[in-house]
Structure formats: structure tokens, C-alpha cells
């Protein structure tokens, strides 16, 4: 019975290739435009460290101007980056079981001996503390995190992402080898496994993928790696990443602490409040004390950058779904016309013993098959849509950013299995929704009407 219905459906598809093509194309377009928006939103909204995101907290201290809003989206939100002096105070606390303090720069990476076969490239570099890797579950493939002494000594050591390891050394265990970051020689101590950390919760650049190189913070003493996203309150940002800079109110550090118990959290809050009140009494902070502690889970919701992209993608989804609905409505009238025109055949089949349900399902099957084809095609449409969005995005970036981490294959906009399946589900659902009314109408035509004389 199913085989008969399938054969009949396929025969009908072949018989009206124009209509079949239109149906397939409409599904492919509607779904292909909608899914990338869903992917973008989904990737922004997902939790990169499930289970761990309630243990790590980002720390916000408000040292901003009294009368200027830091983020338009959240008027009473303190800056999400911190001055070095405040970050140091947090590192001095032993209430938390882990501390991740860092910032990121974009710097040229090249081979240590200026090997011309390895083209220099720009990469994001994270300057961070060793707890970072454990707190955000970075998977280590070769080597180890630098030890405490090495970190404090300010030695030039680095951990590479698997992508950078591939680009610099062609992959494999390259612990001990050397390369250059901003013209300084660094030695590899560890290499990460593939690490798809999306969204990049720990960074204010939440929509980028993980950095290519990780080096020790060494108490902010890497003067050759000056923060790029820094903002200074009151005066100009200092020219050099030196002691003046570190003592200024310039904010740039992304600060996370690990607080596994409620007692830890309460104690840390107290510590923070005491510290800021003390600093205020010493004449710092224009605004009232406004300390914030957001767990990773909460930060996914409230992070200004995340909110901005989420509301943008939400708007994209609305537009795309509207487009899909328009597609479905057009299909509906197209299918109605088609099914009503083939009722003579259906009527004969009914006379020979097909039930109304048989006919109904056979019509749905026909459109379902086209929906499946449309689903496959929609993956290509989605790819083109994503590429063109990226192209627009990249063309708005300064040249050195274009080199970063090969943004064209950014995992941020790639499909995973469940989204892949969701694409087909959506394609088939859309086609069935469009087919429902036409199939219902067509299977309720009394067969006798078409059998009398023709």
C-alpha cells in the first residue's frame, strides 16, 4: 500500500515537473533562509559549558563615569571589563577556587626561524591565568598548562589551539617548539584538542571563536601585548602597557571566578563589597557601588553583547519565518490547483477501492517527497545565505581582522547534527502544512462526479 502510494506520488511528481520544481524551490528557499537565522540564534543561545556554567561567575565592578551609560542595552549594567588594579585585588582573594583574569589581542604569528614556507598570519591571542583552562574546560591534547612559577616569571610560553598547531607546524605533538608572537619568541608548552566553545562566554567578544594562542598573564607584565579593547575613564588611554596603564582606571580585563558553593558566593560578595567600599573611601569610583556577580548561566542571558546579537538574530528569524509563511501560502494555492486537476485519476482509484485516507496520504506523500528534496536543497541555500552574510560582515572589518582564524570556516555558523535534522524536519513540516488543506479538499471530492462521462 505504501509502495503504491509512493509510486503514484513519484509518477505525479514526474508528470508535472514545473509544479514539482516550484514546490521544491519554494521549500528550499523558505527553509534555506530561515535555518541560518535559527543556527545563529541557537549558537548564541546555547550553553558552552553545561554543568559548569553555574560554578563560574563573571565579576563586574562599576568604575564608570557618573553620568554616562556604558552600554545602551542595559543602563544600570557596570562595564563588563575591569581595571587591572581591581582585577589584581580579586586575584589576591583566596575565597574562590579558581580565577580567570585575561584579555585578548590580535597579533601576527610566525615561525621562530622566519621559515618562509609558513606564511605569517594574524591570530587572536588570549593572555590569561592558568585556571582559565580548567574553568572553561579547554581540552588539552599534548603537554600541560604552564606551572605557577613559569607563569609568574613572565617566561614566554604558550598553549596553541589545534588550528594554530596545524597552521604553524602541520599538526602533531609540537610541545617544546618555538614560534613568534608579535616578534617575540614563545615556546609551546601545550596544545589543545578541537575546542568548539560557542558562544565565547568568557570574552566580551562573545561572538568569536576561541583564540589561537594562549599565553600567561604574568601579572599584566606582557608589555608587548597591549590590550586592544580598552576604555579609559577620565583621561586618554595610556600609550604604553606599563605601570601607569596598570594604575589607571582603564578597563580591559575579563574576570571570572570559580565559586562552587553558596557559601563561597556569599563570602566572595562580602569580599567584593568590602573592597569596593574601601576603594570608594579612598576616592575612586564616581558612581554608587554596583558590584555584580553573574554565573555563566546568567551571563548567557544578560551579557550585553549576547543580548545584542540575540535580539538581532531574533529579528532575522522573524523576517525569515515571515518569508517561509509567504512561501507556504503560495504553495498552498499551487497545490490546491494541482490536486483538484488530478481528481479524475483519484476518483478512478477511489472507485477501485482506495479509501479517502489512502488518497489523502498519497497527496501528502507527494508533497513530503518534494519537501525532502527541498530540505536537501535548502542546505545549499543556507550555505549561500551564510556565506553572503559573512561576506557583508567581513567586508566591514578592518583588513587585519580578515586574516583572523579563517573566519570563512567559523564553526559559529556551522550546522551540527541536530540542526541538520531540524532543517529536514522544518522542510517536511512546511511542505505538509502547505499540502494539508489541498489534500483534504481533493480527497473529499465525490468520486462519482468525475466518472460519469469524459
Amino acid at each position: 500500500m505504501f509502495m503504491l502510494a509512493l509510486e503514484t506520488a513519484l509518477r505525479s511528481i514526474r508528470k508535472t515537473p514545473g509544479v514539482s520544481l516550484l514546490v521544491t524551490a519554494a521549500i528550499a528557499l523558505g527553509v534555506g533562509i530561515t535555518m541560518p537565522m535559527v543556527v545563529l540564534y541557537y549558537n548564541t543561545a546555547q550553553n558552552p559549558i553545561p554543568g559548569q556554567s553555574d560554578n563560574v561567575y563573571t565579576v563586574l565592578i562599576d568604575n564608570w563615569f557618573a553620568d554616562v551609560t556604558f552600554w545602551q542595552v542595559a543602563p544600570d549594567m557596570p562595564p563588563d571589563i575591569m581595571a587591572a588594579r581591581d582585577a589584581r585585588a580579586i586575584m589576591a582573594s583566596d575565597i574562590q577556587t579558581g580565577t580567570s583574569v585575561g584579555y585578548r589581542v590580535i597579533q601576527p604569528i610566525r615561525s621562530a626561524d622566519n621559515d618562509t614556507r609558513i606564511k605569517p598570519f594574524f591570530s587572536e591571542v588570549r593572555i590569561t591565568t592558568p585556571d582559565f583552562f580548567r574553568m572553561f574546560r579547554a581540552p588539552m591534547l599534548y603537554g600541560n598548562i604552564w606551572d605557577k612559577e613559569t607563569g609568574e616569571s613572565g617566561a614566554n610560553v604558550a598553549i596553541l589551539s589545534n588550528v594554530t598547531n596545524q597552521r604553524l607546524f602541520g599538526g602533531g605533538d609540537n610541545v617544546g617548539k618555538e614560534f613568534k608572537v608579535a616578534d617575540e619568541i614563545y615556546q609551546v608548552v601545550g596544545i589543545l584538542d578541537a575546542w568548539d566553545f560557542t558562544p565565547r562566554l568568557y570574552s566580551i567578544s562573545i561572538n568569536a571563536r576561541v583564540e589561537g594562542v594562549f599565553v600567561p598573564l604574568s601579572d599584566f607584565k606582557r608589555s608587548h601585548l597591549m590590550p586592544e579593547r580598552a576604555t579609559t575613564i577620565g583621561t586618554d588611554t595610556p600609550e604604553n602597557f606599563d605601570q601607569t596603564y596598570l594604575n589607571s582606571e582603564t578597563i580591559f580585563a575579563e574576570v571570572w571566578v570559580e565559586l562552587p558553593t553558596a557559601e563561597n558566593v556569599a563570602a566572595f560578595r562580602d569580599y567584593l563589597d568590602n573592597y569596593t567600599l574601601e576603594q570608594k573611601s579612598l576616592g575612586r569610583y564616581e558612581r554608587p557601588v554596583n558590584n555584580r556577580l553573574y554565573s555563566g548561566t546568567e551571563w548567557l542571558e544578560v551579557a550585553p553583547a549576547s543580548q545584542e546579537s540575540k535580539s538581532l538574530y531574533r529579528a532575522f528569524i522573524i523576517v525569515a519565518v515571515f518569508f517561509l509563511v509567504v512561501c507556504i501560502f503560495n504553495l498552498l494555492s499551487l497545490l490546491l490547483a494541482k490536486f483538484m486537476s488530478v481528481t479524475p485519476e483519484a476518483s478512478v482509484t477511489r472507485a477501485l477501492g482506495a479509501t479517502r485516507t489512502d488518497i489523502f496520504l498519497r497527496y501528502l506523500l507527494e508533497v513530503g517527497v518534494l519537501g525532502l528534496l527541498g530540505g536537501i536543497l535548502s542546505l545549499y541555500v543556507a550555505r549561500i545565505a551564510l556565506r553572503s552574510m559573512l561576506w557583508v560582515y567581513i567586508s566591514n572589518l578592518p583588513p587585519e581582522f580578515k586574516e583572523i582564524t579563517g573566519i570563512g570556516e567559523n564553526p559559529y555558523i556551522q550546522f551540527n547534527t541536530s540542526l541538520f535534522l531540524a532543517t529536514f524536519a522544518l522542510a517536511i513540516a512546511a511542505s505538509l502544512i502547505a499540502a494539508l488543506i489541498p489534500a483534504w479538499r481533493a480527497c473529499h471530492v465525490p468520486p462519482a462526479e468525475y466518472l460519469k462521462v469524459n
Binding site: 478512478v348 477511489r350 482506495a354 485516507t357 465525490p446 468520486p447 466518472l451
Partner: protein, 220 residues
Amino acid sequence: MFRMESVERRFQVGEIMTYALRDFSLSIGEGDFVAVEGPSGAGKTTFLNIAGLLDPMDGGKYYLAGEDVSELSDRDRSLIRNQRIGFIFQGFNLIPDLSAEKNVELPLRLRGMSAAERKQRVGAALEQVGLTSRARHLPSKLSGGQQQRVAIARAIAGSPNIILADEPTGNLDTHMAAQIMEMLVAINEAGTSIIMVTHSPESAQVAKRRIEVRDGRIVE
């Protein structure tokens, strides 16, 4: 084996109510061959559609093979159509992009019959109508008479209790018509009841029994 009691069928077109069948009663025995005659618009096709469970009735009772089939679900009506009734239409009603044998096979597939049995039955039915050599042809490659013979093969392949034929020779020349009637007689002699609507006295006279319909009633 076939009995209709006071069957009624009305159509409302705008303000006007037409009675296509009114107080229509008819009883037919096993192995009978009934020719139904009457002027155009008398209700013959309507009667056949109700007999074939293709159209609902607005009143009365209908028994087929001892079973009350007046108020069955769509599924049960479809099942009876498939297993007990064979249809032959004036316009042949073959499916144009299926070969002769696929057309004959269609009701058997709807029945869920095994491929082996289908093959055997389709072969036998096509042989009975003398079209074995044309089994793979599309209807468009066959003459009108051949198409109607395919339709007959389709009607008998499932061994129905009764065959309903609506002017089976209406679209054919006299020579072809005579051939078709010969086949129907042979089928009837093998035990299948036949009800045939016809305008042609030549066709009607081969039947065992002739009834006339006027204004939705039988005037025998």
C-alpha cells in the same frame, strides 16, 4: 444477493430540488444479467453510482451479498468496492500513464495482494479479454475497443460478485460493441452478476432481464 428498497437520491441546485431516484426498489439474484434502460436524465447513472457505493443515498435501504451497506464508513465502502464490485465506465477511465497490465493490477494492489498472485490474476484477466500481447502498452496506444477490454480485465481481475457497467459500449462502433457484449455474456455465464446501463437495444437484448427507469423509478 442485490436488493434496494425505496432508495432516494435528491440534488439541490439553487432553489430547485431534483429527485434523481425516488422510491427506487430493485432486487437481483445471483448470476443475473440486468440491462437498465431509460431516457437521458432518468436516473440510471445515479442508480449505478449508489449501487457501486460511490455516491451516498438520501433514504432507503441497500443490501449487497446479504449485508446492509446503506450506512457504512468510507473505509468499509472502499473495501466492498475493492473486493465485491467491478466497474466498467463509458469513458473507460484507465489511468493514462500506466500500462494495460498496471491498470489491471491497480485494484489488486489496493487489496494488498501478493505480487505472485497479482501477476497470475492480471495474466489471466488480460488473456480472457484477448490482450496478452498488449499488456505493456499505454492506453493511448490502444484502440477504444481495446481500452474497454482492459477496463473489463481490470473489473474481473479481482473476482467481484457483481459488475456495474455504465453504457460500456456507448463510445464504441457496432463491431467493437458486439465484441464487448460477447465478453460480458461470457463473464456472466461464469457466474458474475452484471448490471449494465445502456441506450442500445442490441446490447440490452443479450441481458437476461431488462428494466426501464423513468423519472427516478423503475417501470418494468
